[in-house]
């Protein structure tokens, strides 16, 4: 018994990464970043406004949070719908109470289906980023290239038309990609995307069509991961977010500006028994000194401007 000899060959074994998408770089070694107004911590509250279709295809896998029962899975369909009907209006109140500036990652199909909700977001003046067409429209390795190209274009153009916003940000459903997703995003005018969880700060990501900015949207701290998948208590989630806030504020004091990126879902935290825990989190964060409440593109732009200045000097 033995393996093919290629199993003991290592063609990428050299300095840097084993691919060309981005440069190897350690966070602690980078030039410190300064946020507007001398803030230490940029706070990016990212709200998933998602449409999980009842007729889920599950190609190439069932999206986490989606339908799990035989068709028609009314329980999961309607529980996700709860977030967009009820939970989100609790979120709006909480954001206003604590002076939070959220960013909304919206499924284009949801924007088509619920114009009232879309208008509510647009009238708030908050940024919308494209969260794909819907949660079952996955981008994946082995996907037909033309099919994915049409899907990306339909998602982004559709959301631009309906929202009237420029739409420069992207979050793939399930943070899943094909090997050409970044190229398609750049070709469709996307400037930053949030799928790669390898950093706590933005960095430059190469595509054949030019550079994207990878924005750090932590999975490990999001409500669905902590409460929905790890089954930690709501109180523990609050404690974890507070610990992260404290840690990042301290690190920012030593190494330059940091980002607290909190990905949350109204179908989960918008429940009556959980909304109070979100409020406790927002109360704690907003009470800290040196916090800058900002949208994803504001944070991205503030970072990018400093990189350009650094390159010129």
């Amino acid at each position: 018994m033995s393996l093919d000899k290629s199993y003991l060959e290592y063609p990428q074994r050299s300095h840097g990464m084993d691919h060309d998408r981005y440069d190897w770089s350690m966070l602690s070694e980078r030039r410190p970043v300064a946020w507007p107004g001398g803030a230490k911590l940029a706070v990016w509250i990212n709200v998933g406004l998602q449409f999980y279709p009842l007729n889920q295809q599950g190609t190439p896998f069932k999206v986490p949070g989606g339908m799990t029962m035989p068709y028609p899975d009314l329980r999961h369909y309607s529980l996700r719908d709860y977030g967009n009907r009820v939970g989100i209006y609790r979120f709006f109140k909480a954001f206003d109470q604590y002076g939070v500036k959220p960013t909304f990652a919206m499924s284009t199909r949801l924007a088509e289906r619920t114009p009232y909700l879309l208008r509510a977001v647009v009238e708030r003046g908050d940024e919308i980023l494209c969260h794909g067409y819907h949660m079952d429209a996955l981008h994946y390795g082995g996907q037909d290239g033309a099919e994915e190209a049409e899907l990306v274009e339909r998602s982004i153009d559709g959301l631009r038309e309906l929202s009237g916003q420029q739409i420069t940000g992207w979050l793939s459903p399930a943070k899943n990609e094909s090997s050409q997703t970044p190229e398609l995003l750049k070709a469709n005018g996307i400037e930053y995307f949030c799928d790669w969880v390898n950093d706590d700060m933005p960095y430059r990501f190469r595509t054949d069509n030019g550079e994207l900015i990878a924005m750090p949207l932590s999975t490990e701290l999001e409500d669905y991961f902590v409460i929905g998948q790890n089954l930690h208590s709501e109180s523990s989630w609050v404690e974890q977010v507070k610990d992260a806030t404290d840690f990042l504020l301290t690190e920012a004091g030593e190494q330059g500006g940091r980002i607290l990126a909190l990905n949350i879902h109204p179908w989960l935290l918008g429940q009556p028994h959980r909304i109070g825990h979100l409020e406790r989190v927002l109360e704690y964060i907003s009470a800290q000194d040196g916090v800058w409440m900002a949208s994803a593109s504001e944070i991205c732009n503030a970072w990018q401007v400093q990189q350009e200045v650094a390159n010129e000097s």
Binding site: H19, K175, N198
Partner: protein, 323 residues
Amino acid sequence: MGRQASDMKEDPGFYDYWPYHNRPKIEWPGGARLAFWVAPNIEFYELDPPANPQRAPWPRPTPAVGGYSIRDYGNRVGHVRQMDLLEKYGIRGSISLSTALCEHHPEIISMCRERDWEFFSHGIYNTRYTYGMSEAQERDMIRDAMQTIHRHTGQACAGYLAPALSHSELTLDLFAEVGSELFGDEGGIYSCDLFHDDQPTPIRLRSGKRFVSIPYSLEMNDTIAYVVNKIEPRRYGQQIKDNFDRLYAEGADSGTIMCIPTHNYQVSCPHRMRAYEEALEYITGHDDVWVTTGREIADYFLEHYYDDALDDIAEKAVAGMGV
């Protein structure tokens, strides 16, 4: 590629039954009762590794953005956080190293060398599994990894944790043999792959080499806590303290070992650092704790207690037969 039942052993045959009472008393240097070591796994996972017939590296089609990128987080962001924390509490890491990291990220290797940390082998990449390798292939892989550590750090690699905990029946034999070929008695002296005890155990090898298993706790491993058991950060911190309290108490009778194996992509996330720091502060705040490395524990045991242990194991085996 599944093995027939007739080809598989009931027991790996590395050690005999050795009850955890009335063993020869161990005293660690300076009269310490507990040897404490931290083993950061510093790993490199490949984005698109070759297929192994028995284990898929990633659960979803390439590119596995989620799995790959969180591991990369450990190297880009997490490493320096944990390194600073260990330094604050006077702890030198014993690195379980994907040795290709010497080529990919030599900056991390330099930082650890400056702090006199130990490097031991965790294979070449954590996406290349031992499953299906011939004996010659596994020997080549083990040799490559040990030579890489020596070339980049000057250290004669003493310990092994097989890549992604993927083993063959010969893994421990091959590691010990290649260690002797390359470095004589300095190389290939301990294994972290066995979880049967809280004290070192002599391991029976085909070469007869003096070789020990050093406790490297799976239960204290942050990835087991966070990814497999999915527990809260503060609960993980409490488990570490509870684990320490009991081993420290028992160490008054005979020296024990406590290991915290970590991964920079888990323990160094911002929401998990406080719980980890509190646990390290608690442990290092006690007297009679030997804060050390895997190699130092193995060396000390081999020199002072290995022979007594062999005698005691043999005696207890005879006593058992008298029942």
